[in-house]
C-alpha cells in the first residue's frame, strides 16, 4: 500500500555528471550490501538524485521540467483532478444542497425494511442510514479527506525534514544512527506501523489517524532528503559558499535545502494519494474518527460495510471519490518524477 514509486529502476544515473556520480557513491555507502527494504531505499535514493542534477546550461531544472510537463496529457489529467478536488473542498459548504449533519430523510429510515433511503427529488443520491443527504455528505466529505491527507503528509514531511536534515547536514555518527532507525521503520509493514502507533491513543480521533499515517511517511521523506543533501554537499556552489566562509547553518538552510526540495515535492504528491488511501483503510478498521457528524470519505466507506447487501451504493460513491482523487495525485506525482528524472531527459 505504501509503495510510492513502483516501476522505477534501481539505477537511474547512467549519464550524469561526475559530480553526481561521486555523490551517488556516498549515498550508497551505508547500504552496500542488500539489506531490508533495499529496493525501496534505492528507489527513494534515485528520486533524491533525480532532482539535483544540473540540466544543460541556460535552462533551469524547473523550466525544463515544466516544458516537458506542459505537453504531458497524464500530468495534465492528474493536475485537473487535483485542482478540481481542492476547489471542491474549498467551496463545499456553499454548493452542498443540504447541511451534512441535518437529517431530512430521517422519517424514511426503517431499520428493518428500508435502512437506507433511496434517491428521490431533492436527494439525487438518496440518504444514508441516519437519514442524511448522501450527496451533501460526499461534497462536504472532500474537506476532511483533504485535511487528513494534507496534514498527514505535512507532518510526515516535517518529521522527515528534521531527521533528513540532521543526517544529511551533520553526517558522521548522527547520520549512521538516524539512518539505521529509518531503515528499521522502512522495513516494517506500513499498516502494522500505523496500527501500532494508533493503539497508543486512548481513543481514536482524527488526529490519531493523521499521526499514524504521518509516522509511515517520516522515514520515506528522511531518506529522500538525506540523499539529496549528500549529493549537494559536494556540489560546486556549496563548496564555494564554504570557501567564502559562510556559516554552516546558512549553508544548509540557504544553499542546500532549497535545492533539495524538488524530489521532496514529488514524493509529497505521491504521499497525498497514499495518505488518503491509508486513512480509508484505518477508518475501515475502526481507527478513524468516531465522530460521525463531519463526514470523511474513508469513514463513510468504513461505515457503509454494514449495508453491503441492501445498499452497496453507500460504499461505491465514497470509494469512487477516493479512487479518482488518489489516481489524480498518483498521475501527477509519477509524471513529475519522470520529468525530474535525468534518464528521461535524453
Amino acid at each position: 500500500m505504501s509503495d510510492p514509486t513502483p516501476g522505477s529502476t534501481p539505477d537511474t544515473t547512467p549519464d550524469t555528471t561526475p559530480d553526481t556520480r561521486t555523490a551517488r557513491a556516498t549515498t550508497d555507502e551505508p547500504s552496500r550490501r542488500p539489506t531490508y527494504g533495499q529496493r525501496r531505499r534505492e528507489r527513494i535514493d534515485a528520486l533524491a538524485l533525480a532532482g539535483t542534477v544540473d540540466d544543460e546550461p541556460g535552462v533551469s531544472l524547473v523550466r525544463s521540467a515544466w516544458n516537458r510537463l506542459r505537453r504531458n496529457p497524464v500530468f495534465l489529467l492528474g493536475l485537473a483532478i487535483t485542482v478540481a478536488f481542492v476547489v471542491l473542498a474549498i467551496i463545499a459548504p456553499w454548493i452542498a444542497p443540504w447541511d451534512p449533519t441535518a437529517r431530512p430523510l430521517l422519517d424514511e429510515v426503517r431499520p428493518q425494511t428500508n435502512p437506507v433511503p433511496g434517491p428521490q427529488p431533492g436527494h439525487p443520491l438518496g440518504g444514508d442510514d441516519r437519514g442524511r443527504d448522501l450527496l451533501s455528505r460526499l461534497i462536504v466529505g472532500s474537506r476532511q479527506t483533504l485535511v487528513v491527507g494534507v496534514c498527514a503528509t505535512l507532518l510526515g514531511l516535517l518529521g522527515g525534514l528534521v531527521l533528513g536534515t540532521l543526517a544529511g547536514a551533520i553526517g558522521g555518527w548522527v547520520d549512521s544512527f538516524i539512518m539505521r532507525v529509518v531503515d528499521v521503520m522502512l522495513s516494517f509493514p506500513s499498516l502494522l506501523l500505523a496500527f501500532t502507533i494508533a493503539s497508543l491513543a486512548r481513543s481514536p480521533s482524527q488526529w490519531t489517524l493523521i499521526v499514524a499515517i504521518a509516522a509511515v511517511q517520516v522515514p520515506v521523506f528522511a531518506r529522500l532528503l538525506r540523499g539529496s543533501l549528500l549529493a549537494l554537499r559536494t556540489s560546486d556552489h556549496v563548496l564555494a559558499a564554504r570557501a567564502l566562509g559562510v556559516k554552516q547553518r546558512a549553508v544548509v538552510f540557504r544553499h542546500m535545502l532549497p535545492n533539495a526540495l524538488g524530489p521532496v515535492i514529488v514524493q509529497a504528491t505521491l504521499s497525498l494519494a497514499i495518505s488518503i488511501i491509508e486513512a480509508a483503510a484505518l477508518s475501515f478498521l475502526g481507527l478513524g474518527n468516531p465522530d460521525q457528524r463531519q463526514p470523511e470519505w474513508g469513514q463513510m466507506l468504513g461505515l457503509a460495510q454494514r449495508y453491503i447487501s441492501e445498499a452497496p451504493h453507500l460504499a461505491f460513491y465514497p470509494a469512487g471519490c477516493i479512487i479518482v482523487v488518489a489516481l489524480g495525485f498518483t498521475l501527477m506525482g509519477e509524471s513529475l518524477r519522470e520529468a525530474l528524472d535525468p534518464k528521461s531527459r535524453r
Partner: protein, 336 residues
C-alpha cells in the same frame, strides 16, 4: 557465500533486538500500562498488585527489559482475553498462521503468474494497446484501496451472483481432517477432495483481492526491468551474433531482467501483510490479519503484542531469504 549468510544472520539478530526494545517501549506506553495490557478486563486491584510484583515493575527499567526478553524467549506473552478467551496468546498466533500463509501464498502466485508475463509483453510491445491498457490498469490498481477491491468482489461474486461463499474458510459442518491447518493442502493430503475444493472456493475471492497489490508492483517492475535490459549492449551483441530470438529472450533478456523482480517479490510481503489485515476483515477470514484487527479493536493487548512481534519477525526473515536468493542468482552481490 557462507560468510554472507552468517553476516546477514547477525544483522537479523540486531534487528530483532531493536524490535524487542520498540515493543517494550510500546507496551509500557499503552494506555494503562503493561499491567492493564496483560490483564485486560479481568483487572482487579489485588490482581493488579500481584502482577506488578510478578512482573517486577518496581525494578529499574534495564532489569525490566531483560525480564521482558526472558519471558518473550520462553514464549510467555500472557493470556488472550477476547480473540480466543483463556488461551495463551502465542497459541492464538500459531492457530491463525496457516490460514494467512495459505491466503498470501495463493495471492502471490496469482500476482506472479499474471504480473511477469504481462510485464514482459508490455515491454516488448511498448506503446501498443496491450502496453497502455496494462499500465493504466496497474496505475488504477495502486489507487484503489485493497479493502474496496475485496468489497467489490464480495458484493458481485458472493452477494449478487452467489457463485462463491461470502465469508469464512470452509463451510461449517463440513467434516474435514486437519493436518497442517492449511485447509486446501489438508484435503489433498487426506484425499478429502470435497474439503479441499470447498476451502479453495472460500479462498479465491480474498486471494484475488489481495493479489491486486503485488500484481501492480510486479507488473511495473518487470516492464521497467525488461525495458532496461533490452537496451543493454550484451543483447545487441547477442543479436549481432545471430542468436535466435528465442535464445536471446530466454537467456539474455528474461534471466537478467528477473533480478530486480525477485527482490520486489520479497518486498511485497510487507504489503501483503498490510493487505491481509484488510481482506481478512472483509471476508471474516480467520487468519493473522483478522486476529490483528480484532485484538486491536477489542484491546486484547496480549494477542496484539504477539502478533506485532511475530509479523515483524516473519517479515524480516522473508527478506533475509530473498536476499540470499538474490545472492545465489547474482554472484556480484556476494563480493560487494
Amino acid at each position: 557465500m557462507l560468510r554472507f549468510v552468517v553476516r546477514r544472520l547477525l544483522q537479523l539478530i540486531l534487528v530483532i533486538l531493536a524490535l524487542s526494545v520498540l515493543l517494550f517501549v510500546w507496551l509500557r506506553s499503552l494506555p494503562g500500562g503493561p499491567v492493564s495490557a496483560i490483564l485486560g478486563e479481568r483487572q482487579t486491584s489485588a490482581r493488579r498488585e500481584a502482577l506488578e510484583a510478578a512482573l517486577g515493575l518496581d525494578q529499574p527499567i534495564p532489569v525490566q527489559y531483560v525480564r521482558f526478553l526472558q519471558r518473550a524467549v520462553e514464549g510467555d506473552f500472557g493470556i488472550s482475553t477476547k480473540v480466543l478467551p483463556g488461551e495463551d496468546a502465542l497459541v492464538v498466533f500459531w492457530s491463525r498462521l496457516p490460514a494467512t500463509v495459505e491466503l498470501t501464498v495463493l495471492a502471490l502466485i496469482i500476482a506472479i503468474t499474471l504480473g511477469i508475463p504481462l510485464g514482459y509483453l508490455a515491454a516488448r510491445r511498448i506503446g501498443s494497446l496491450t502496453d497502455t491498457t496494462a499500465v493504466i490498469f496497474s496505475l488504477v490498481g495502486v489507487a484503489v484501496p485493497v479493502f474496496f477491491t475485496a468489497f467489490l468482489l464480495k458484493y458481485f461474486f458472493a452477494v449478487e451472483w452467489q457463485v462463491l461463499p461470502v465469508s469464512g474458510r470452509q463451510t461449517t459442518g463440513l467434516d474435514a481432517t486437519r493436518v497442517t491447518g492449511m485447509f486446501v493442502l489438508d484435503g489433498l493430503l487426506t484425499r478429502e477432495w470435497d474439503a479441499s475444493w470447498d476451502a479453495l472456493k472460500h479462498l479465491i475471492l480474498p486471494a484475488l483481492a489481495l493479489a491486486t497489490i503485488p500484481f501492480s508492483v510486479i507488473f511495473r517492475i518487470t516492464r521497467a526491468s525488461v525495458l532496461d535490459v533490452l537496451d543493454e549492449d550484451y543483447v545487441r551483441t547477442a543479436e549481432a551474433k545471430g542468436l535466435t530470438a528465442r535464445v536471446i529472450r530466454g537467456r539474455h533478456v528474461l534471466r537478467n531482467a528477473m533480478l530486480p523482480v525477485v527482490t520486489t517479490i520479497g518486498l511485497q510481503v510487507g504489503g501483503l501483510l498490510s493487505g491481509a489485515i484488510l481482506t481478512e476483515t472483509v471476508f471474516s477470514y480467520r487468519g493473522v490479519g483478522d486476529a490483528l484487527a480484532t485484538s486491536f479493536r477489542e484491546k486484547d493487548y496480549a494477542v496484539l503484542q504477539v502478533l506485532i512481534l511475530a509479523t515483524a519477525i516473519i517479515y524480516v526473515l522473508v527478506n533475509l531469504l530473498v536476499d540470499i536468493a538474490y545472492a545465489v542468482l547474482d554472484p556480484r552481490i556476494r563480493t560487494r
